[in-house]
């Protein structure tokens, strides 16, 4: 009981989703064609960017600009943003609410019967792969520099994991995500992409 009360009060503090969405700045007009008016994403044109932290969005724009994230469609879009505009679009998309999900807390389930959920909640330490939720948060809800994966488009999750493997996505601190993506098999990537996309 006590645990529940704490969880609820802390959720209020931790989830920016409860605050009001900001009005759209002019600089974000360009983005909506591919990411949707509130950043909800349009598959397969652009991933969901709503509800990512402002810190993460700004960092990714910088990575596209520096060529550490290579993508022929998004890179030129990032180039249109400088200075204050980066903060504006980042805060705008970060303020967009996402549907709430029922959190799965570590330990709620003792054993999983297929590989994707096992990787997500427990990892595979024999290969030095930690549970995805350790960094991405309970149910991969995301926060700070760790993007939300729950409910993201499966095709996008897959292309990102492959981008790390081929070296077209870099820039994460000490390659912490790269080193994990590099250990995943093609079958695991497919399974993870559809499992994570389905967390609603």
């Amino acid at each position: 009981m006590r645990v529940f009360a704490c969880l609820i009060s802390l959720c209020l503090l931790a989830q920016p989703a409860f605050s009001e969405p900001l009005p759209m700045p002019a600089s974000a007009q360009l983005c909506v064609g591919c990411h949707g008016p509130t950043g909800g994403g349009i598959e397969p044109v652009g991933p969901r960017i709503a509800g990512l932290s402002a810190e993460y969005i700004a960092q990714q724009i910088a990575l596209f600009q520096q060529g550490k994230r290579q993508n022929p469609i998004m890179a030129p879009m990032a180039m249109t943003l400088q200075g204050d505009k980066i903060t504006q679009v980042s805060e705008y998309f970060a303020s967009q609410a996402l549907p709430e999900i029922k959190l799965h807390i570590r330990g709620d389930t003792v054993s999983f019967n297929e590989p994707a959920s096992t990787l997500v909640y427990q990892g595979d330490w024999g290969r030095l792969i930690p549970a995805c939720v350790t960094c991405h948060g309970s149910s991969t809800l995301g926060g700070g520099q760790f993007p939300r994966l729950a409910g993201q488009q499966a095709s996008y999750i897959k292309t990102q994991l492959l981008a790390w493997q081929t070296g077209t996505r870099k820039g994460d601190v000490d390659g912490m995500m790269a080193s994990i993506a590099n250990k995943l098999t093609a079958a695991e990537i497919d399974a993870l992409a559809s499992y994570l996309a389905a967390i609603k």
């Binding site: 704490c6 009060s9 802390l10 019967n113 427990q122 930690p130 601190v173 912490m176 080193s179 994990i180």
Partner: protein, 353 residues
């Protein structure tokens, strides 16, 4: 800030005298483990998949032990007084070799301790981690929590031994009374194939136990240099002030110092223990490896920050306690960088959330 500290002192006295309910001073249950360096030839006990935990009452205890170990926060306010889970230090739910795995620990108790001239059972060792690493108040002897954590440890140890020596079948069940003692005793029943392969003392020193000892640093360890290592390789996850990161109120990136981390009595507050742990296990997921010197320096940085009080503190004060219990590589009772003496502004033990 000051207020917290002022009322934390009487609260501490209270907790060490009456809440703990022991007449003698709290024993040093976090006494340093014997550590040895890692050898390239080491091979580790296999671990069974959690899916193979048997159905039934015994299996339920094992499952409960696992759940308490990875989500110790369900005991917050009862036995836990910080934001940590056991699995934050005993990684992969207590199964990872060289991250103080439970399968190796279980076979090393009861253990004789010089310090308090006493034989410590496994459950007493578990209690030590609640009092210090979890900054809480340990569950009573033979409580369901200690039985469950013992059952999980026993199941990992015995299952591993059985698989290593090709003994078929389920892990034999033990009574609650036997579970909490640990596996280093003459009357601990073992299949013949295992008993004849290793002596009891060999089983108590399995490769992968504890955190492997790393060589002494080339230069004396320095919190100042450690701060640079911290910024570059740790801060992304543990925060600019060691506070960790909570997502939706749940910490999976744990606090390293401050009010929500382990207290001054915990094994991890020693520079050498932290250095051994960090070198082997951090940065998390090991995308890079620190040098030996970096591991010592960053360990010194992390352990030279204020944290919850050592619950053994009496009205004789910090300096006295430092003399009695802190004659090792650590910063309790010392001042760093012209700051106040560490321990003098410590945070409360087992606070309400």
């Amino acid at each position: 800030m000051n207020k917290v500290i002022l009322w934390s002192v009487p609260l501490l006295l209270l907790s060490s005298v009456s809440i703990q309910g022991v007449s003698e001073a709290l024993p040093d249950k976090q006494a340093e483990l014997f550590t040895s360096p890692k050898k390239p030839t080491d091979s580790y006990l296999p671990v069974r998949s959690l899916a193979s935990i048997p159905k039934g009452e015994f299996g339920d205890k094992v499952r409960m032990g696992y759940q308490l170990f990875v989500n110790t926060q369900q005991l917050r306010g009862q036995y836990v007084g910080n934001e940590l889970n056991c699995s934050n230090c005993h990684m992969d739910a207590g199964r990872k070799a060289n991250a103080s795995p439970l399968w190796a620990a279980y076979l090393a108790y009861p253990a004789y301790r010089k310090k308090n001239d006493k034989v410590n059972s496994y459950q007493e060792r578990l209690q030590g981690c609640f009092t210090y690493s979890m900054n809480g108040q340990a569950p009573d002897n033979d409580s369901p929590e200690l039985i469950a954590l013992s059952a999980y440890s026993y199941w990992l140890a015995m299952g591993g031994l059985m698989d290593q020596y090709q003994v078929a079948g389920e892990v034999p069940e033990l009574s609650d009374k036997a579970l909490v003692l640990g596996g280093k005793r003459d009357d601990f029943s073992l299949p013949e194939a295992i008993a004849s392969a290793m002596t009891m003392d060999e089983r108590a020193k399995l490769a992968g136990r504890g955190f492997p000892a790393i060589p002494k640093p080339e230069l004396a360890y320095s919190p100042e240099r450690g701060a640079e290592v911290y910024k570059a390789h740790c801060q992304a996850c543990h925060g600019d002030n060691g506070q960790g990161l909570a997502i939706a109120g749940i910490y999976s990136l744990p606090p390293l110092w401050g009010p929500d981390s382990f207290n001054w009595g915990a094994g991890m507050h020693r520079v050498n223990t932290a250095a051994n742990f960090i070198y082997e296990n951090m940065p998390f997921g090991k995308s890079i490896t620190l040098t030996n010197q970096q591991a010592w320096d960053v360990a010194a940085y992390v352990t030279s920050k204020e944290r919850p009080q050592d619950p053994r503190l009496t009205n004789k004060g910090v300096a006295d306690l430092a003399k009695q219990y802190h004659q090792h590589q650590g910063y309790y009772g010392k001042a760093v960088d012209n700051g106040p003496m560490l321990g003098s502004k410590a945070y409360p033990v087992n606070p309400d959330k």
